[in-house]
């Protein structure tokens, strides 16, 4: 299974990097530009503040989600649109290998790029602005960013795959995923606003009373549960017959 998963990831990444026509052009656009911007340019400009800014944590969590969302819609809808899906399904690869291969490729790209630019950012800050002790991110921040960005990008990837399974075109899948993400974001915000005052006060008390670690653990557990739920639905909905006939 591992070998087959890697084969699928190899194929998916190759497709991403060849979107610009040549492998060199694709690698430049999909890897070099984001790395240069997030791992060199911004840390260079911000200096040591870059490592202290808490808003950066939010960026590192959202960045892979954004990267994953841009590519995951291609997964099944793209194969269907380019008429390669039936041949892939007629191969010896089993259902889970195809599904998890596509998920792993998207998450691996988004999360891998985010973590690589984080590391590169640290190197840049230290090389350009380091005059004395090493400038490092707090271990808790690194753990938070690495865990949450992985969970959030897995959620985006599995939701994207789920949508892509039934979408007839990539554009349709992208529109549905964008609307779903917007719905999730605004739904959460407006949902909290719409809560009765007593509930809101209880929530505020609970959050202010809890330690940061507890809040992170609860948030992480919620995200993990959502990931598992959406992946389970995607596994259940992966039916070769329906994929071919849709």
């Amino acid at each position: 299974m591992t070998r087959d998963l890697w084969t699928m990831v190899w194929k998916e990444w190759k497709e991403i990097f060849l979107q610009r026509g040549t492998l060199r052009g694709g690698v430049f656009t999909a890897i070099a530009i984001p790395l240069g911007l997030l791992g060199i340019f911004i840390p260079w400009q911000e200096g040591p503040r870059w490592a202290e800014s808490s808003t950066n944590s939010v960026v590192w969590i959202w960045l892979p989600v954004f990267l994953v969302a841009t590519m995951i819609c291609e997964s099944f809808a793209g194969e269907r649109e380019r008429k390669t899906l039936e041949t892939l399904l007629a191969s010896r690869l089993d259902d889970r290998t195809i599904l998890f291969g596509k998920l792993a490729a998207a998450v691996g790209y988004g999360w891998g790029l985010a973590m690589s630019s984080l590391v590169l950012g640290l190197i840049t800050v230290n090389v350009v602005h380091g005059h004395g002790p090493l400038i490092l991110l707090p271990a808790a921040t690194v753990l938070l960013v690495a865990t949450f960005s992985l969970l959030a990008s897995t959620l985006a990837a599995s939701a994207g795959v789920l949508i892509s399974l039934r979408a007839s075109t990539v554009r349709q899948a992208q529109q549905t995923l964008s609307l779903s993400l917007l719905g999730l974001m605004f739904g959460g915000l407006f949902g909290i606003q719409a809560l009765p005052t007593t509930w809101k006060m209880w929530l505020a008390r609970t959050l202010s009373g809890a330690t940061l670690l507890t809040t992170e653990l609860v948030g992480g557990a919620l995200l993990l549960a959502l990931d598992l739920l959406v992946i389970s639905i995607a596994v259940a909905r992966f039916q070769r017959a329906r994929l071919i006939l849709d």
Binding site: T7, K14, E15, G21, E86, T87, L88, A90, R92, I244
Partner: protein
């Protein structure tokens, strides 16, 4: 490999109110090149999809390479190669990358992958263009590459769904020749769907004719031609007037006559001696250049079966 590569028993598939495949029962011997003939929409592609386990039958069952399509479709796909309705190539990839991906899928080792890719691309005359993106290729070249992909892992069973559809005659003939030479060792069983009867006649050791999901005939092409019972005579010459044709039709062995471009085709009632026909033609003043005694082609058989089924 079992002696019977494919066995179906009353295999049926419905799509809502439409019955795409209707109680199909057939056997394909291992090593055969089996032609599955039928007009568009006759259920050929649906049958292949069921045999590969991509679609569940509504009723009946099928066994491919000894495995039930409902319970062991993964094992069937692991031992099969397929060129389906579309070439299914990744157009951004080069020819080499397309084959590389499917060679990896079938667990060919690194050295074996390189050797097999070179062997197939060399054989098909595509080696020099292996680095080009497939999107720049002609349809004929893409189909050749898709055939190579279907054969990359030396499968026991190869499904080819209308491989020459949409190709110009030259490209189609080249692909047929390539295909014939690639499967010449006879180790693989080939299940070929087509509505190109000349193609089936050239490639197939056995054929079946299907229409509206129903099997109309099955057998060796020669058997079908013999069963069709329409031996014929073709006469080249001049003076085939309506009166001459009327006189010909009065002969007991003549079933029907047709003149097209100076060629007189006479359908005979069973195997007949042509001498009385030639004598009559000469007597009534027709001028004869050539006489051919012929048998029905697969196309004649096919058209006859279609007519009988419609009637």
């Amino acid at each position: 490999m079992p002696d019977i590569a494919i066995r179906t028993e009353t295999l049926t598939r419905d799509f809502a109110a439409v019955r795409a495949v209707d109680a199909l029962t057939l056997q394909v011997e291992a090593g055969a090149v089996f032609g599955f003939l039928g007009p568009n929409g006759s259920g050929k592609t649906t049958t292949i999809r069921m045999l590969l386990g991509l679609l569940e039958p509504t009723a009946g069952r099928a066994e491919v390479l000894g495995f039930d399509t409902r319970t062991h479709s993964g094992r069937i796909r692991a031992r099969s190669g397929a060129l389906l309705e579309n070439p299914g190539l990744y157009e951004r990839f080069s020819a080499e990358d397309n084959l590389e991906f499917y060679a990896r899928v079938w667990h060919l080792g690194s050295a074996e992958r390189r050797a097999r890719i070179r062997q197939l691309l060399d054989h098909l005359g595509l080696w020099d263009r292996r680095k080009e993106a497939v999107s720049k290729w002609s349809r004929g070249m893409k189909q050749k590459l898709a055939v190579a992909r279907a054969l990359i892992h030396r499968p026991s069973l190869i499904f080819l769904d209308e491989p020459t559809a949409g190709l110009d005659p030259v490209a189609a003939a080249a692909l047929r020749a390539d295909f014939q030479s690639l499967v010449a060792n006879g180790e693989a069983t080939v299940f070929l769907t087509t509505h190109n009867l000349a193609e089936a006649e050239k490639l197939c050791t056995h054929v079946a004719v299907i229409r509206e999901g129903k099997l109309l005939a099955i057998g060796h092409p020669d058997e079908l031609r013999a069963q069709s019972g329409v031996p014929k005579a073709e006469i080249l010459g001049r003076g085939f007037t309506p009166e001459v044709l009327l006189a010909l039709r009065s002969l007991p062995m003549v079933a029907s006559t047709e003149v097209r471009n100076g060629r007189l085709t006479i359908a005979l009632r069973g195997p007949s001696d042509l001498a009385p026909i030639v004598t009559l033609l000469v007597t009534v003043g027709a001028q004869i250049e050539e006489v051919h005694k012929g048998h029905a082609t697969l196309e004649d058989v096919f058209l006859k079966l279609m007519e009988e089924d419609t009637a």
